[in-house]
Symmetry: C2
Subunit: 418 residues, 2 copies
Amino acid sequence: MSFHHHKLPNGLQIIGETSPSARSVALGFFVRTGSRDETADVSGVTHFLEHMVFKGTPRRSALEVNLDFDRIGANYNAFTSEENTVFYAAILPEYLPQAVDILADILRPSLRAEDFDMEKNVIIEEIGMYDDQPMMSAFDRAKRVYFAKHSLGNSILGTKESITALKRDQMQAYFERRYVAPNVTVVAAGDFEWKNLTALVTGRCGKWNSGPVGRKGVRASDGSGAFEVVTRDAVAQEHVILMSPGPPAHSLLRYAAGTLGMIVGDDAGSRLYWALVDPGLADSADMSFHDYEGTGSFYTSFSCQPDNAAKNLVIVHRVLKAVQLDGVSEEELQQAKSKILSRIVRASERPMGRMQAIGMDWIYLGKYRTADEELKAYDAVSVKTIRRLLEKYPLDRLTTLALGPLKKLRRVGGNGRG
Amino acid sequence: MSFHHHKLPNGLQIIGETSPSARSVALGFFVRTGSRDETADVSGVTHFLEHMVFKGTPRRSALEVNLDFDRIGANYNAFTSEENTVFYAAILPEYLPQAVDILADILRPSLRAEDFDMEKNVIIEEIGMYDDQPMMSAFDRAKRVYFAKHSLGNSILGTKESITALKRDQMQAYFERRYVAPNVTVVAAGDFEWKNLTALVTGRCGKWNSGPVGRKGVRASDGSGAFEVVTRDAVAQEHVILMSPGPPAHSLLRYAAGTLGMIVGDDAGSRLYWALVDPGLADSADMSFHDYEGTGSFYTSFSCQPDNAAKNLVIVHRVLKAVQLDGVSEEELQQAKSKILSRIVRASERPMGRMQAIGMDWIYLGKYRTADEELKAYDAVSVKTIRRLLEKYPLDRLTTLALGPLKKLRRVGGNGRG
């Protein structure tokens, strides 16, 4: 393994971790822009733009983008989150030049009016699809309720109304502001030559516009403390989400937060698993920690038959309260560490796993970390660190959202605000 | 890479592919039994039994099973299909002895009456959960309609009624008949010592009961040709599935069938993608090939806003008809091969990927194949092979199932039966 970093004069960064035992290479273009960087009048534009990137450039039609990726057998895709838009491809090593060429080209899209109008239908279909994925709808709504006016509450997909109203020129303006070179990091991991990569990226991206980059509204959020029930007759199970505050991405407490999430809500062997899933009270129960720039949040969720929802909510409160009062045991901590160790090692066997890990570390922490360094950071978490985390970010400071057939759900406890 | 095989006197088989560059090992216990091996009075017993395997043995309570896996940081799980029940764990190499010990122990479960009664709730919750995943419900129903009285139409989960009625002794009898040693293959891939593995498995499984194994009703199916619309008001999008016959698992035509599925219905760049997803007419469109013992089937599916369903169904028929009449082009074939090559190489980087591949090859073909041999088999597919496939398994011999808000859907064409 060896790591390299290079910055072009226009501000674009390139990082790479070469691994000779890999048989493939993963390549990603990370654009530091997401739904939190949107204003209300362009809600959903980041995700819509992610789609438009695949619709062609002056050099390629949408069909050609697709064909060119297929010719090299690329496994390619993209995702949009609250803070990042990432375009990536996994390929065999001999196709690195083509992969850089295609990804760099499509990151300067034409945004043709006819493609824009057509793609609106695709986005609206995708929004419709979420109506059949109630847990996704519930998460989207829970974030809105929890973050209230904080920009992290912005919907990633937007609404049918906001997408319908969006104009091509608004997207063009957003693109020109957010896709400037200093806001882009090119990340590679696996079997490739570093010199080769920098030459290719310099050739394709060296002339991209520079410009000021930034992000407004970076601040902590404790959540609104609201309790909301959204009735959807067309949903079978009740989906309940409880959110509480956690440390931001740059905090050292994030390792403790990830570990705590695993102890309380991993999909097997966690406190919530034993309390809800094992006895058949819920079909799923989960707690996970998500960190963002400036703040973080624990997402605790379960879904179950509507009749069980009230009882289950009481049980979840009991589980969270016990953790808040008594912390976690040494044995639980050791088990969680074993799981995390195993996951990190297994993810590191895949170029795609390393590419995502080093990309996110670079963007959020501004530094490179080996898989071993990541392991060490988790290994340093102690029962005391978790205690400190709980003091700073109490688990009972809850905002609650239920979505499903229920008209009402009995509120449990307060919201930790005294 | 090197491959090894060993059969114990009681008929249990052990196979393994060692790979020194791996950093972990994947271990699986493949039991050759699935929903097709069930009679109607025990519908869902295979999947229910898969759950019960984790509920403890004379040596371990359910809690201890879970804790023991967690202590070694195992990523462990199981799945039940029409033909196989597979229990697996990915671990760091030093934990191989513990992983064999736990998996071998739980494969002889106590099936305690109180656990059985409790776990019924879990299964019923899981069945309820599928009501919120309409595409899964649609697939389950489509298989039933297509296969009609063929045992591959059996539901994997069973129904609330069949699970409620199931008795512990029926499960015990099923277990004793199907979990005998000759019906089990232990599979390992990654960084491990072959001698070490065989010694461990022999020690743990050498005394397992032997017994006759078999499978009834292994025969080809052309599908019923039915056209059924299931109205579900509680579903937003319309989910449509078209099934047609394909080659069985042991047929050399399976490689051509997998390739054809990719050309017609891969999630990007396929004919269905361009016809339905790219223009925003459907939120997803897909064709994939599944092979079974004795028969195989193409699953073509799409989901969309209900108003678009009739129009989309006509388009799908047009796409399938064009393929049936004119076959595929050399360029399409080459693109599909590039994708398949890339996928196989990337899957081979992970012990879990190799473990599943060599396990399934061994069970269905009775032989070991390297990743390179798999590549060669796909590389040998020509435009002519696909033509031969289409002649033997015409794409217009369709059985159709729609599930969603629609009350009616206009039938398109015939069902290829003249």
